[in-house]
Every structure is written in structure tokens, then in C-alpha cells.
Symmetry: C2
Subunit: 461 residues, 2 copies
Amino acid sequence: MPELAPVLDHIDAQLPDALERLKALLRIESISTDPAYSEACVEAADWMVATLQDIGFEASRRDTAGHPMVVAHGGESAGDTPHLLFYGHYDVQPVDPVSLWHSPPFDPQIEPGADGGVIRGRGAADDKGQLMTFVEACRAFVAVHGALPAKLTVFLEGEEESGSPSLVPFLEQHRDELRADLALVCDTGMWDANTPAITTMLRGMVTSEVTVEGAKIDLHSGMFGGPAANPIRVLSRAVAALHDDQGRVTLPGFYDGVSELSDDMAAQWRGLDHDADAFLGGVGLSHPAGEAGYSALEQIWARPTLEINGIWGGYTGEGFKTVLPARAHAKISCRLVGDQDPERIGEALSAHFRSAMPDDCTAQVTIHRGAKATVMPVDSPLFTRARDALTDEWPNPAVYAGCGGSIPVVGHFQEVLGMDSLLAGFGLDDDAIHSPNEKYNVRCFHKGIRSWARILCSMTD
Amino acid sequence: MPELAPVLDHIDAQLPDALERLKALLRIESISTDPAYSEACVEAADWMVATLQDIGFEASRRDTAGHPMVVAHGGESAGDTPHLLFYGHYDVQPVDPVSLWHSPPFDPQIEPGADGGVIRGRGAADDKGQLMTFVEACRAFVAVHGALPAKLTVFLEGEEESGSPSLVPFLEQHRDELRADLALVCDTGMWDANTPAITTMLRGMVTSEVTVEGAKIDLHSGMFGGPAANPIRVLSRAVAALHDDQGRVTLPGFYDGVSELSDDMAAQWRGLDHDADAFLGGVGLSHPAGEAGYSALEQIWARPTLEINGIWGGYTGEGFKTVLPARAHAKISCRLVGDQDPERIGEALSAHFRSAMPDDCTAQVTIHRGAKATVMPVDSPLFTRARDALTDEWPNPAVYAGCGGSIPVVGHFQEVLGMDSLLAGFGLDDDAIHSPNEKYNVRCFHKGIRSWARILCSMTD
């Protein structure tokens, strides 16, 4: 095991430089879901390649039909030291509504405050700040010891925020190159600011887009209002019918494969003493609005959801236009748990909209590639070592947690490469990821780097 | 009575020039609902002033808190010849979605075809093409006889497509200047391409905007999906509840003041032999989707409606964003008939949304100024003369018709000036007003000018 203390000292000393490097990455507008930013995604990939080469990795950009992947290899196997693959993503969410940002989303700034303040900007937490905690830990090892502590592969994608269309084909084409003993993923959060977490359950997801079409042209409500079917009304009615009064999803078969929480897990989660009031209060809410009979934490970690993420149709500009639009649209996503089958749920969603159409209206439903929920094997010794390493860094012991989010790559690593993932991240609930004014605490960034140094060290003995 | 025949000959000979003048007006992007086009509205008003001065009117632009009015006076009273006020509007609807236009909306072109083809562009029919039929008739009288055939006031507004906020204050401030024996309004349609119509019933309108607010920021559906209230779901549910399964509006008191059609009127309308299949088929529909038990014509002319003209919230761009938005919005309008009270209906709409809010959501409902439905006194001799004049011009006799649209100025003329309106227009059902690819038939424009010449002549004896 390489000596840890000088690595940690080096990390502490080099924090200002590490923050400058993160700011450079955050300035690249790598929004993956909007084709207008394709060049910025390539730029971000190239930036990552250069950065990894600078540390001593053999790194290269791998172009795909979508945004490029970055693959880097470094370090040596030694004895029982596992081969580890680190995964992150250099793409970010869109920034709209941009008017709600207090500073430009791609002009990152350190805002002073307690414990070093925060770094503000799109991607500060999700996932540029998080992935750089690992890269900076590697940099410190090389600076202090002249080498990485283990055989490491770094694998970064640029389509995580847009459904990862190139991911599975890429994994399938590069099985041998990418297969490792364990994946390390830094795209999750802490339990709280002093309690690190290893996330062992992730919800899956399936997304879809619905278009309801009525007349072949937009109509004037004075001329046609009455006899003309209004796609907005039809869509609203169909959307409203997706939940019952108890907040349960009404799609037939939606809950197939959903298990009630085991008594053990329920007890462990109760032990976390989740403060639902504070959690919801932080964003201006007060009541768990999901399925009746479940706590907020259960609703997020253990229950599936169906949500409308976007809806639009007709005139949405300033002023008024008495139009009956030809079309209305919605974007819908389901978060999945247990053994729920994304494909069957997509089919049920399509059937729901098709059957909800009155005369003169048709529904076009596009179902995107889905991912099942995943559950990690927490009995592996590598998990125990990582948990102990995290406990050494932070004030409170590390916990095993669930996660309401979807990180489909974890399921793909299991399915395509037979590889489990250890999910450790340093985000906080108030990071505003996917929202205006995203930030990452400088303390999380700093101690995140130190945490990875500890985890890597713990796995080399 | 001035001699009519040379005026009609002059109109026929000058049609190419008249079309060029209309094209010049159509090039002005006078979208009144969007503040970005305010200067274009002023430009359109100035163009109208110059055009009316060119014909010999004393014309001036009258600035208001919104877009300017145009007022022009010309001609002399003689004997029993009534003083007539012509009303039109130089503003137009927005052009979105602009991608559906086959040619630029503000680059009007004559497209060849039967009977002279069509003139294509935003405002070609509504209302620039229509108002210019009257202006060109006046021009022909002056050219042939050296004078207008009666005392005429031309009154044009630039806010008809955006709720006419300045109209009533302007009428109140200029009662004496604007009061005439009868208003002539050219903003309605023909019964069919060979049958002119005088519209004697107009639906009223009340419009509103609703915003549902949940959390104070947009949320990530992975982190908050489940316990967080989703304003899109809440809005969709409240919107869906506005109609029952029979297509009736559920707001309490909505139908107060709505009378069933008299037997006489019902018989007259049946005599029109309305072809609902052709009417709906023209825009790709096949079934009257409104209240059960009413024909399509009754649904448009005699029944009130409540329609969603716009809805939006969350992520609506390309790709996907798993956001739970902080807000969702809708634009809603009601078409009114009989004695329905716009104010009470606005209150019922506000109450509906307020009572539909679950914990953690609030509804902000803005009700805009409404207008009651109006019914014209068809027993006036001026109506009979106008009907006969129209019958002389067109292949089929003129009919008295209803109209599903709202022309609030007609109600305001009655209330503020005690003045009735004679509504004669030459639009056709396929003109696509308020939609992409709006057009006006050259034949309608030509014979519309001739029709006004006949009507004006008929009223001078």
C-alpha cells in the first residue's frame, strides 16, 4: 500500500490549482441533449483527454455516432489489487430557464462562504465537479509516488444527460478493454454534509414523448371552437388519468415487479432519521405528494413514479392568441424500482394514450430506451473497504443508501460487462443539479478528492 | 345616388394597383400581441393614415397607451344619407409556428389559380385584406365622382388581436367624434364562396391565464420524484376537470344566460343546409367534438365554449430533461353567447383553479377584460339595403348568419356609442386566419371592393 499521508497533504496544498482546472472544464458548454452544443461536447472530451494524458494516462477520444467517449488506461496490476474502472460524464443538463440564474451558467465562480464556499455553474456538481474529484486524486498519487496506485481505467461519456444512446453499443464493442473488477462511479450524493454514502440501490427509468394530433392546421377558436377537437384538452385529460386520487399510477401492470421494502431495509432507513420536513422545506414544499402510505424517503428510494417533465401546445408567448392548436405534446418519464420492466411499461403508456383518443385525434408515442433499477452486492469486501475509507475522511460513518435517480450505466455495466459498481459521490441535496444556479461545495470537492485517495489506497493492500 | 356603374368599372380596371397597395400593407409586421413588434404597429398606422389622406380623408394617427388608433373623416351629409363609421384593424396575429409556413408570412405573394388566385401572407384576410376592400371602394368613388358618396369616418385600431386594451377608453374620450348612424365592420366571412353574409350574432369572449406554482425551483425527478408536487400534473388535472364526458363545461353557473335557440332561428339555420362534414373535413376533422346534442353550426353560433389555447411547463426543447418544473401555465378562453356575463365566468374560472390546488401548489389566475355576446337589429332598413346590395354583386342571395368569433368592438360600439354595426366581410372558411399560410382570395378582395361600392351607393338614396 503506497503511503497515504503525503498524498493527502499534496491534495490540500494543490486545492487552488485543482479548482482552476475544474473551472476550465465548467466553462465548456457541453449540453448533450441539444445538437447546437455538439462542438462543445467534443471540446470537453478533448479537454479530458489532455488532462488525463497530463497525469500519465494513455488517453484517447473515441468518436461515436453521438458525442465522443473518453477512455484512458494507467497504472499496473500488483498482487490482489483489483483493476478498477472509473466512470463519469462530461456532459451537462440544459440551462433553461437561463433568466433564473444569478450568474452566467458557464462562467463558473468560487463564491466565498463557510468551508471554502461553493463553486457555481452548470455541471459544478453533476458531473464535472464529481468526476474531477477522482481525476485530482489520481494526479496527487502520481505527483507524490510517481505512479497510480492500481491498474485504472477511466471511462467518460458525453451523453449521460441525453439518454446515453451510444453507451451500450460502445460497451459491447469494447468489452475486453473496459471490463474490470469493479466500477467506481462518482455521480451520487452524500447522506448529509458530514455523512458520506455508498449508494446501493438506484431507480431505473423509461422516458417517452407523446404528441396528440387533431386538425391538420391550427384553428381559430372563434371559427371552430365547439366542434373542433382540441388536442390540449385531449392530452390534459389523458395525462390527468395517469394517476388516481391516492397518487398511484393507473397504468395496468405498472406495479408488476415492485416489492414492498424488506423489514431489515425499512429498519435501516428509519435509522437514517430522514427529515422529510427539512428535505421538502428546502425547496419550498411541505407535504410528500406521492403515493399515500409511504414516507418521502420510501417514495424516492423504493417506489416507482410517473412524471410529466414537459408539456406544451398552442400559443405560449406573450399576450393571447385564441388558437385551437393542431398538436399538443408531453414528455413523460417513469422512475422504476425492483424488477419493473421498462419495455412493458413503455407499452402500457403507449396503449393508455392510444385508447384515450376521441374521434379525430391520434396519439404518437415514442418510447426511448429504458433501464431497469439496479441493486448492488454490499457484501463484497471492496465495499467494506470503501466504506471504512470514507468513514476515515468524514465526521460521521459512511452509510449505505438508496437513490431516487437513475444511473443507467450501472445497469449496463452489469448486463454487458458483468461488472458491479461502487457508487460514492459528494453531492448535497441543495446542489440544484438540473436546475438554475447549480453549485458544488468546495469542501465536498476537496474532501471528495481526499476520499478517492483513501479509497484507492484501501484497495491496494 | 351617384352613378354606380363607372365606379365598378374603375374598380375592375384598378385591381392590379389595389393588390399592390394591399401587399405593401401586408409587408408590415404589425403583430400587436408581442411587444417586439410595437414599431411595426406604428408603421402600419402611419401607412393607413397616408393612404387615407391620399384618397382625400382628413386622417391622423392617434397615439394611445398601447398601439395607435387611426381616425379619418371625409365626405358630406346629404339629406337622409346616414353618417357611416367604418371599423377595421391593421394589427395581425403572431405567425408561429413559422416553420409551417410555405412562404414567409410577411412577404405576400399572389399565387395564381382560379378566379385570380389567392394573396398569401399574415393578415391577408384578417383584417388587412378585408379593411382594404372598403378603402379601395372609397378610392374608386373619389376617382370617378371626385367625392365620397356619404359622410364617412374610418376608425382603425391596432390591438384587435391582443384584447383591445385601449379601445374603450378611446371610444369614451372621443364619443362625439366617433358616433355615427351605423358602423360598418369588415372582419367576418361569407357563408360560402358564392353567398355573402351579414353577421347578426357574435359570440362574446373572456380570456385568462393560469399559472400553477409548486416548489420554489425546478427539481430533478430522480431526487424529488415522488414526494414533490408536479405543477404540470396539477394543472392537467384541473384543466381536464373543466369539461364533463358530454363536452359540457363544468364551471358552476357557466350556462346562466344561455338560451336555447328559438324555433324560428333554428329553422332559418337549418335552411342554410350547413355541410358539417365538408366544414370539418376541410381541416382534417370528421366529428363535431363539442356539446353532445347540438349540430356543428349550433355549437359554433349558439353555444358557449371553454378552450385551452395554450399550455406549457417543464422542458419542451429537443431531447429530454427529467425535470419537475416549479411552474406550469395555461391560456384559456371562453366564447360566450346570449346574456352570459364575462365577469362572473372569470370568477368561476378563478375559483375552479384555486379549489383544485393540492397542498404545496398555488394557482395564479389572471382574467382579462371580457365582452358579452352581441345581437344586431336586422329589421333596420339599412340592413335590408345592404343585403340587397350584396345580393346584386354575388351569385347567391345574401344571408343573415351567426358567427362563432368574437368582435368585441361591436359590443363596445353599442355600449359606449349607442351605435349598431353592420358586419359584412368576404373571408372564406379556408382562409387559415390565425394559422400558418393565411390567404385571401383575389376574387373575394375584388368583389369585396365592389360590394362596398354597392352598399355605399345603396345607402345614399
